[in-house]
């Protein structure tokens, strides 16, 4: 662990990724202490200061009802990260289990499970999410549900492919010949060998999930006001470009930094695990 950290820190790009994500995490966790106007995350109105360009004490300016944009970006990070963690917290176990079972059992089980996975994969993610959101109410919970529904198949496919390869390894045969249960072979023998790829993908995905969630709320299908959300901020601000540029630019940059940061770390992890083998 310490060695991995040392390797990550020695590469300037992954170091940058670590710093960016570190800042975002600290902001999200300690938002109450860092945000200069924590109460602005809700439905606050301060018409005296509305639509102001960046200037102390409003580092990123204020929005159309006078709320501090910097505070709202910080709280939006918190929501985005919670969304990402919840989505992956459901999608990864589901996808991994489906992939392991399909890859290890083979035959009809494989056929059935992978066809279902393929169907999900063949629908463009945004379309799937939008249709789910169209049927359900556009709340945060449903947003998470929609993103989860389109995310698990990627893990199913990844783990399925890896399991098919690992199944041919001698250690799987050895465990089977000892008389170990299928559950043991799948989760204790095969799964640990898939771990590096899963963790790498999760890191990369955190960025993408933030992006997708933002796209959904940009379309008015995600987090609902007054809860701060990067996607809705960009959408609302875009109407006032280029005069009130800060309304769009800062939330967009916030999305960019998150996606970029998680990608840098994901790439670094991929290299790190690749070099291990």
């Amino acid at each position: 662990m310490r060695r991995a950290f040392a390797i990550l820190a020695s590469n300037p790009l992954s170091l940058l990724g670590l710093i960016l994500i570190g800042i975002i995490l600290i902001c999200a966790i300690f938002a109450d202490f860092i945000a200069p106007f924590p109460e602005h995350r809700g439905a606050v109105v301060d018409f005296a200061n509305f639509n102001q360009a960046p200037k102390w004490p409003h580092l990123m300016g204020t929005d159309l009802v006078g709320r501090d944009l910097f505070s709202r970006v910080i709280y939006a990070y918190r929501i985005s990260l919670i969304l990402g963690v919840v989505v992956l917290g459901i999608a990864v176990p589901v996808g991994v289990t489906v992939g392991l079972i399909a890859g290890y059992f083979g035959r009809y089980t494989e056929f059935a499970l992978m066809r279902v996975t393929d169907v999900f994969l063949s629908i463009p993610p945004l379309v799937l999410a939008m249709s789910i959101m169209g049927v359900l109410e556009p709340t945060l919970i449903n947003g998470m549900l929609a993103v989860t529904a389109m995310w698990w198949p990627w893990y199913a496919r990844l783990v399925y492919n890896m399991t098919r390869g690992e199944k041919e390894e001698g250690y799987v045969l050895a465990a089977e010949l000892i008389g170990a249960s299928r559950l043991h072979v799948m989760f204790r023998e095969v799964l640990p060998n898939c771990f590096p790829s899963i963790v790498t993908k999760m890191t990369l995905d955190l960025g993408f999930i933030i992006l997708i969630a933002s796209s959904l709320s940009f379309l008015g299908l995600g987090v609902q006001p007054p809860t701060p959300d990067l996607g809705s901020m960009v959408a609302d601000g875009a109407k006032y470009l280029p005069d009130s540029w800060w309304l769009t630019i800062f939330p967009s940059l916030a999305i960019l930094i998150a996606v970029f940061g998680f990608n840098l770390i994901g790439d670094a992890l991929r290299e790190l695990f690749g070099a291990d083998q």
């Binding site: 250690y171 045969l173 010949l177 008389g179 060998n193």
Partner: protein, 270 residues
């Protein structure tokens, strides 16, 4: 002569692929007697691994039956059958899970077959490692930190952990270098009487056969050509194919083997 531990009666195996059928084994019958080492020799593709897999229950025979202690072995092996027949594989690189410690791999056998009390098991693992000539604290190591010879020793320990009766050795030393080979072979030789084991030893190395096996079975293209006591078969091979097989390879005698061993003593730990 000791009674048969395992009997193979008219075993055939046909692999059905999408476009064709591969007859890998054709009506093979032989037995393995308690406490002996039966060598199986034959060219690549002769069906040696196939016969081993039938015995291990990796897949069922297309035809024929396999008996152990006179009882037919079912296609779906019960835990007790798994325990009794173990395998040492050819490739030391893949035989151990790279993500699990050596101790965890051995512990699995003890857990599945409920050998020893739960809290005694770490102790049993250490004893097993020492029995195959490795330090007990290797239990904490990952396979990447072991040499090929050491990994094969762990694989042998895994078979011992199950308290198996029949150990199928599928070219266990063929990917090791000569000096390490000799040491692993000597370990196997020592363990056999001490643990009351029976070996089914698949190999290409006729020197190993000569010095190690009680009997030899010669396979060619899925058929069992001949089977007999090692000295007799080497002295008077019945089949032209066997004759060619024997004359094609220089066979190292026990005396030469000793010289090799003495060289190995000076070498690194196998």
């Amino acid at each position: 002569m000791s009674p048969p531990l395992l009997e193979v009666h008219g075993a055939s195996k046909v692999f059905r692929l999408e476009d064709r059928e591969v007859p890998a084994l054709l009506d093979v019958s032989f037995d393995v007697r308690e406490g002996e080492c039966l060598a199986i020799v034959g060219e690549s593709g002769a069906g040696k691994t196939t016969v081993a897999n039938l015995i291990l229950g990796v897949y069922p025979p297309t035809d024929g039956t396999i008996l152990m202690h006179g009882e037919p072995l079912p296609a779906r092996r019960r835990r007790e059958h798994r325990r009794a027949i173990q395998l040492v594989q050819q490739n030391p690189l893949s035989t151990l899970n790279p993500k699990r410690t050596v101790g965890a791999s051995l512990r699995l056998a003890l857990d599945v077959h409920r050998i020893g009390e739960r809290r005694e098991r770490p102790e049993i693992v250490a004893t097993l490692l020492e029995e195959v000539g490795l330090p007990g604290d290797f239990a904490r190591r990952y396979p990447a930190a072991l040499s090929g010879g050491q990994r094969q020793r762990v694989a042998v320990a895994r078979a011992l952990a199950c308290r198996s009766e029949l150990v199928v050795l599928d070219e266990p030393t063929s990917s090791l270098d000569v000096l390490v080979q000799a040491r692993v072979l000597r370990l196997l030789e020592e363990l056999k009487p001490r643990r009351g084991l029976t070996y089914l030893f698949i190999t290409h190395d006729l020197s190993v056969v000569r010095n190690f096996a009680d009997r030899v079975a010669v396979f060619e293209k899925g058929r069992l050509l001949e089977i007999g006591v090692t000295e007799a078969l080497f002295a008077e091979p019945e089949h032209p194919y066997t004759r060619r097989l024997i004359s094609a390879v220089p066979v190292v005698s026990r005396e030469e083997e000793l010289v090799r061993d003495r060289l190995a003593e000076g070498g690194l730990n196998a």
